[in-house]
Symmetry: C2
Subunit: 134 residues, 2 copies
DNA sequence: CTTGACTCCGTATCGTGGTACGGGGTTTAC
DNA sequence: GTAAACCCCGTACCACGATACGGAGTCAAG
């Protein structure tokens, strides 16, 4: 068991952020001491880190909430969450594909720079301005 | 040549957003009619779409500004932008790796759901709560 | 030639994801 | 037993990325 300060420290976030996530429902309300201090189990660190990583990947807090709900309900209603999981998976794969396109563009730009080819047109645009599915 | 409304329509963004990007310096200031109306060339659509896609990939407007600058200055000072390009490339590759980790996690979760294995512990956490390099 | 849609600009407001503040009670360390 | 450090809660404020508003001018169709 640890205090909110220790939790925040270990997870690498601000104390206020912990309380904010609690308000948002991303963190379960922890046990309290008699005087009202929050008491966290080690699992809370893992949960906070999960949130941090997901956030770094571009998920909104709302989406992260959904991911966390998948986890919570997994044991109980496994197949019921399959659809949402596959939706997220598709989203992630789309992001990967687009980033790979950008990677190729940046890569060829870097290569062109290296060989001092001074192409008049930057390759980055070609790959990224192209088709737009919206 | 087109008006701001036509541009916004074609690029799939709000008119106000176009003006906002102009203020931010993401869009070059367009020509004006005598009466002061903005006049855009077709290239502006491509530029707006580029911004949209980059944003969807998790780049901030500031980073997008930098990406756009790479493009602009490429012809003139090619090797000078090489370093910044490679930095962006590393950023993109890191994002891809993290998304791929999440893809694996979600994939195994989906598979577990499908086979109704109702594992008591959700695989998604294992891969994502694990090591944390910060 | 007027009516409605479009544009101008400046400024205000919004949603998201926090972060800070401040007045109070609590714990820990000396 | 008293500082220092910590925690409580509510509320205020911040940056970012838009989006809305409003009063005025402009343009295109009937």
């Amino acid at each position: 068991m640890m205090t909110i300060g220790q939790l925040a420290e270990q997870a690498g976030v601000n104390i206020e952020t912990v309380r904010y996530y609690e308000r948002r429902g991303l963190l379960l309300e922890p046990a309290r001491t008699e005087s009202g201090y929050r008491q966290y189990e080690p699992a809370a660190v893992a949960r906070l880190r999960f949130i941090r990583r997901a956030k770094a990947l571009g998920f909104t807090l709302h989406e992260i909430e959904e991911l966390l709900r998948l986890r919570v309900r997994n044991a109980a209603a496994c197949q019921a969450v399959g659809r949402r999981t596959r939706e997220k998976l598709e989203l992630v794969r789309r992001k990967i594909r687009e980033l790979q396109a950008m990677e190729r563009s940046l890569g060829s730009l870097a290569a062109a720079c290296e060989s001092r080819q001074r192409t008049t047109e930057c390759p980055i645009l070609h790959a990224l301005e192209g088709t737009d599915d919206a």
